[in-house]
Symmetry: C2
Subunit: 195 residues, 2 copies
Amino acid sequence: MVDAIKKLREKTNAGIVACQKALKDSSGDVDKAIEILRKQGVALASRKMGRSAKEGRVESYIHLGGKIGVLVEIDCESDFVARNEDFKTFVKDVAMQVAASNPIFVGKEDVSEEAVKKETEIIKAQLTGKPAQAVDKIIEGKLAKFFEDACLLEQPFIKDSSMKVRDVVTSMIAKIGENIVVRRFVRFQVGEEVK
Amino acid sequence: MVDAIKKLREKTNAGIVACQKALKDSSGDVDKAIEILRKQGVALASRKMGRSAKEGRVESYIHLGGKIGVLVEIDCESDFVARNEDFKTFVKDVAMQVAASNPIFVGKEDVSEEAVKKETEIIKAQLTGKPAQAVDKIIEGKLAKFFEDACLLEQPFIKDSSMKVRDVVTSMIAKIGENIVVRRFVRFQVGEEVK
């Protein structure tokens, strides 16, 4: 039971009491308890998500002895949370994620229609000769993969690939009780073409 | 003499022999010797400046407990120089400069014609009622000030306001013997409007 609670807390960031209750509700099944807590977290988080986040934290991550550098800004509602250790660790983790996974956009909503159109054309060009009824399905799947590669929030979290970065944000919101917004990031790599 | 050489080296980054010679040529006048060395440095540097800089270093500077963050990329010709301690210190200094002085562009050549036009209009709007012959002169002066504020390379260097950042780059090129290019920077400040 103690191990199960420990595992649950690591996975979901939920409090001890919530973990105990979820384990009881799932009859001790950890995976089911995670599911229960995630749903609760999402419900809790969705009530915070509209709130304005004007405080926050800028963090950097320098990789490969200065060949790659990342700057991220993640916002929250109060300076108190901006100085919270869990929040600070989260901001650092996201900076590391950007260094490792090289996203282009923060979320799906930041991908321009133009970029989606261009990507669709690239996929179509690779599909000559396929039956028409298969093409739409393939495009849908490849676009989903494109969003997962290109959008930070859709990427698997580097510290736990069972979650998307978006899920980690949600669980942080549920845990901390403030809206949290990944505002922006930038990644410089020595030798790359500068736009 | 030893003190004068020490001061000269600090100011110009030139070698001991060059400093001794410059002091001899200036009859011991340190200011004149600086002038001589700067001219030599500029001459030396200008021969390097066309060369391609594909190596380099990305550095960050986080200010005010995470409220301001800066990322800069400064390029050089070899990885050997990218790992040079003087070069690393210089990159760090530039990151700190960006945090403190909030430039918008790297150099004058990065300011769009549109931005200059807009700035000129703002200045003109403040000059109603002045005699026409004075207006051009005032605009010229205010534009020069605008470039000095907005362009990193035109700003006074935070560690020695007698030099522009551009002059520090030149003296680094002369000292290190490779072309050095301030490639790009970004500055995030929590609470500012995101473009």
